[in-house]
């Protein structure tokens, strides 16, 4: 132990993984630092070792293979917002990343990997990734594996940030689907009090599939799809909107109750943002305003 923490900047993924697997506790992987530094500045986090993955070229960049969008973990928010492949294949993701707070300064440095691994309930990227049925890839001493984002959320032993490194995020486009993101920002500062991402499929006016993910209302994301199945087979109307509101509010188990708003209101707003995200998906030109 020394008074100051130590630091390493591995040059390759393999080097980083070897290093992490040889280290004991007190290790933190650092990418853009937008999450870590505020905690370090206030003494909330006092790592013994920083492993800086910022120099690992393999983790940088956005590409697409057919209908699949592939984003390296070090891709910064700013690059996602403006990238043509993201606009084409996953505009919902571009929209939710644009809704993030912190301004250009944070968007220029914060990475998608860091945002995912932070798993903060108020954050904006995760609802869209779950709605889009994204996959992620991670690497640790046991090797590389690809899993669904949903499975990652359910797995508390993934070791990301200390033993494992998130390497890539995959989203497959579904050309017949429409999408909407709605962030209800009711306080000063960056975060929403309830956020919703909706992915719908329609045939003409008829809703054929509906999938809504609500964030910021509970300490876990809330996926609502089966409970909304009764709305498929018909066109969307005001009554359907009221039903979405009711079902989605009800889907929130224990709502968060914090400086973003108290629990009763958060549950009600979960329903409202769900309806507005669905309306945004159906009426992209006019947008939600009710």
């Amino acid at each position: 132990m020394s008074l100051y923490p130590s630091y390493a900047r591995p040059r390759s993924l393999q080097q980083a993984v070897d290093l992490l697997s040889g280290l004991q506790g007190g290790v933190v992987v650092i990418a853009g630092g937008q999450e870590i530094l505020p905690s370090v500045n206030y003494g909330v986090l006092m790592p013994d070792v920083y492993v800086d993955i910022g120099g690992i070229e393999e983790l940088i960049g956005i590409s697409s293979v057919g209908d699949e969008l592939v984003m390296g973990a070090l891709t910064v928010h700013r690059d996602i917002q403006g990238h043509a492949d993201v606009q084409r294949l996953a505009p919902l993701l571009a929209q939710s990343v644009s809704a993030m707070g912190g301004g250009w300064q944070v968007h220029n440095r914060g990475t998608i990997g860091g945002n995912i691994v932070a798993m903060h309930p108020l954050y904006d990227i995760a609802p869209s990734l779950l709605a889009l049925q994204a996959d992620i890839e991670l690497i640790d001493a046991a090797g590389t594996r690809r899993l669904s984002f949903a499975d990652l959320l359910a797995d508390s032993s993934h070791g990301l940030g200390t033993k494992a490194i998130l390497t890539r995020v995959f989203v497959t486009a579904s050309p017949q689907s429409s999408w909407g993101y709605y962030k209800l920002k009711n306080t000063s500062g960056a975060y929403g009090s309830a956020n919703a991402a909706a992915v719908l499929e329609t045939e003409g006016e008829i809703l054929t599939a509906i999938r809504v993910v609500i964030g910021a209302a509970a300490d876990q994301l809330t996926l609502v799809s089966d409970a909304l199945a009764g709305l498929t087979g018909a066109a969307y109307d005001a009554a359907a909107g009221a039903e979405i509101e009711r079902i989605c509010a009800q889907a929130i188990g224990t709502p968060l109750s914090d400086h973003q708003g108290d629990g009763t209101w958060r549950r009600a707003m979960a329903g409202v943002v769900a309806r507005r995200a669905v309306e945004a998906a159906l009426l992209p030109a006019t947008g939600p305003d009710s």
């Binding site: 900047r9 630092g33 530094l37 920083y50 250009w104 300064q105």
Partner: protein, 168 residues
């Protein structure tokens, strides 16, 4: 692999045109190094959480909050601070002059965030509309709440930097 571990990191930065080679402690922010090791006190410490933007600098041409950038993670970088906007002979940058003339700032504490974000915006957008200005400046809080005059001063800066684009 443990031999990769260092107790300090050596960084090479071109700060406002001048080359510096510095030894930085892991965990230290770019803000602390700029203010305490380099003496660039124009970069202000406001919140240390990344919310206020008073510590804004440009890293390789893109704005960043220096209080939440870890110095060691920037082995080589070109850094522009608010002090670097001014020419060596003391002539103010057109953005600074526009803010001066249009009274765009009040107390001035947020100037690093407002002026450098304006600089990044105007690099690629010679005639931003209000929504584009707001998006570019959203990362900086003006505690004097002078947002209307800030918008006006950005407009004035556009006219000075791109006289041909004005009025479009």
């Amino acid at each position: 692999m443990e031999d990769l571990l260092e107790q300090s990191a050596l960084v090479q930065w071109r700060i406002d045109g001048e080359l510096h080679e510095l030894e930085v402690v892991p965990g230290a922010s770019l803000l602390d190094v700029l203010r305490e090791q380099v003496g660039k006190t124009g970069t202000h410490m406001g919140c240390r959480t990344g919310h206020c933007g008073a510590c804004t600098v440009m890293i390789d041409g893109a704005v960043a909050k220096s209080c939440i950038a870890m110095a060691a993670t920037l082995p080589r970088a070109t850094i522009t601070t608010i002090e670097g906007l001014t020419a060596a002979d003391g002539t103010m940058h057109p953005i600074q002059q526009a803010f001066w003339d249009a009274a765009g700032l009040q107390c001035g504490f947020c100037a690093p965030g407002i002026l450098l974000s304006t600089a990044e915006l105007l690099q690629t957008n010679p005639a931003p509309n209000d929504a584009e200005i707001d998006a570019a400046l959203a990362g900086t809080l003006c505690r004097c709440t002078g947002y209307q005059s800030i918008r006006r001063a950005v407009g004035e800066a556009c006219v000075r930097m791109y006289p041909d684009a004005a009025g479009e």
